[in-house]
Symmetry: C2
Subunit: 336 residues, 2 copies
């Protein structure tokens, strides 16, 4: 299986159905996002919009809208919750860039490179505050509970990753716990609040949560693989960023475990010193290939994708369900 080359000849899975399904609602979400980044303190909309308008897919708010559609919600609360979810995500990105000392985000200079770490930390805090204000306006205590828990779990996942940094003997299980927290929890919460607003059964709420959680894990694993095999344009960041930052991700965990003593020595030296040498990155990519670490990471992603799809099995066929199932294929197919 080729991880790097796109199969141009095959029709790629897309999120067109999902986009069409949620387009009208997303316009309202986008207008709300724009108005809620407004502040007399001009630095706030500048920093926030630099990131928000930078062409992210807005996958998380779209999931909130789509699961609200899936479960027949007819109110207006999902618009605010979707905007809140995007703000939580944006706040996390702003803070992550500071933590990781990243220079690029979505192919553009990271906000911290333009306005400094200070502004990234504080505007992130502002967006988090605005997110909670919007949630409170919706008035669903259960939705508030889900999203505020998610905020704590996400931060916990990030700290866990920080504590595990450079630990090459991190197990696959420990790594999964990290990405469930730092990435998948927000997918799960974004999907769970839809049926919560629609006051659907606990089983349906749990199904949507499980869909989001497993989709989020698959999404992160594909991201991890892409970091060693995507083009810059496709990725919005540089190939090898994780490597240079010394991040321990699943491809590395697998290659390290499967490697010889010499190879382990290489990984230790390269990731601990955060190697910037192209030759080191090339050797790393070579070792990942030798041990099938990228292919197997994608295989694991496919596994969680399958769980996500099965989670929705109890819902009857609908346009929303088809759109959500296609998202899973789209996320996994990004790896090609």
């Amino acid at each position: 299986m080729a991880v790097v080359l796109p199969f141009e000849s095959q029709p790629e899975p897309s999120i067109e159905r999902l986009s069409a399904l949620t387009q009208a609602d997303m316009e309202r979400v986008n207008a709300l996002i724009l108005s809620r980044t407004g502040s007399e303190v001009t630095m706030i909309p500048e920093v926030a919009n630099h990131l928000i308008s930078s062409g992210g897919k807005r996958l998380r708010p779209v999931l909130t809208l789509a699961t609200a559609a899936l479960t027949g919600y007819s109110g207006a609360g999902h618009i605010r919750l979707a905007a809140a979810v995007e703000f939580m995500h944006t706040a996390t990105l702003l803070h992550d860039d500071v933590v990781d000392e990243s220079e690029l985000r979505r192919g553009k200079a990271a906000a911290r490179m333009l306005w400094g770490n200070e502004a990234s930390v504080l505007v992130g805090d502002f967006l988090l505050g605005q997110a909670f204000k919007m949630m409170v306006e919706v008035g669903s205590l259960r939705a508030l509970e889900i999203l505020s828990s998610a905020a704590a779990v996400i931060a916990e996942g990030e700290v866990m990753q920080l504590a595990a940094a450079k630990k090459l003997d991190t197990t696959e299980d420990a790594y999964l716990t990290v990405i469930r927290g730092k990435t998948a929890e927000l997918f799960a919460a974004a999907c769970e609040v839809g049926p919560v607003l629609a006051a659907r059964s606990n089983a349906e709420q749990a199904a949507c949560r499980s869909f989001g959680m497993n989709l989020g894990v698959a999404f992160q694993l594909v991201d991890d693989a892409l970091d060693y095999g995507g083009s810059k344009a496709r990725l919005g960041k540089n190939v090898g960023d994780d490597f240079r930052e010394g991040k321990i991700t699943l491809p590395v965990i697998l290659a390290f475990r499967r490697g010889s003593a010499d190879e382990r020595e290489f990984w230790r030296a390269a990731l601990e010193k955060g190697s910037n040498a192209d030759a080191d990155l090339e050797r790393a990519i070579g070792l990942l290939a030798r041990h099938g670490a990228l292919d197997d990471t994608i295989d694991r992603a496919r596994h969680y994708g399958a769980i996500a799809k099965d989670a929705l099995a109890l819902f009857p066929e609908s346009e929303a369900k088809r759109a959500l199932l296609e998202v899973v294929d789209f996320c996994v197919a990004r790896a090609h």
Copy 2:
């Protein structure tokens, strides 16, 4: 008026009455704080407790408890809200230290000096998430509205301060807007949620909010003055920290406006380059004294303290009211 020397011979205003009033409740708050910083990710309680156990006065949660007592609240929700208020405050401190690159906090090494900026950012986010979880558990949408708005306003005030950094021609009004946001808003919210839980009249809610807001402004102004005239032990930070960080505070705003062209040149040069020279700090303190800038800053603080006291006038006499009035005197008297 002496700003620096304590008047050892006079009985200083104290917060003993307030401490006695809230002691039983504070024990429950402290237990809750301890349990809610718990995490399997050991770095979280380490970082959080480094700061939380570092002998802060916990003035903000105490204010929540005291205003709940003032307004006859008989439930248990004020415990969780008080803990949430302290978590919001702690999160702000963790992030502030990163933004200001501070080395000391409450007389100890700042968390970022021990665990790094990354941990300070992320553990702050975790505490913010936990704060919202606790608020949601209380279930008062109005209290949630007040505290989530406060979170956004606080961050906005911090960004405003960042944008105004090094601008010596900042007006006193503009500066007041900054400290209303970054400091006083949390005091106001902490005081407002007490009567909200007790379901008291809008007039009483507004009175408590006004008390907190004006107390917060007075508190910050005294802090600003102390930075140029307190001892390290008393202050928990170094004299001159604001000066070295190039922070524009009211004493500087006054001395700059009242100063000669030469003096203004000195302030510009010193604050823009963030002077570390003892001689520069000495000259700054000399200029503040020449123009009565510290005394007048304290006078301004006394003015806001008086407004705070009047805000409580509509409440009948009670132990809680007396305790709250004494806090104002205590905060202003810290300047001596």
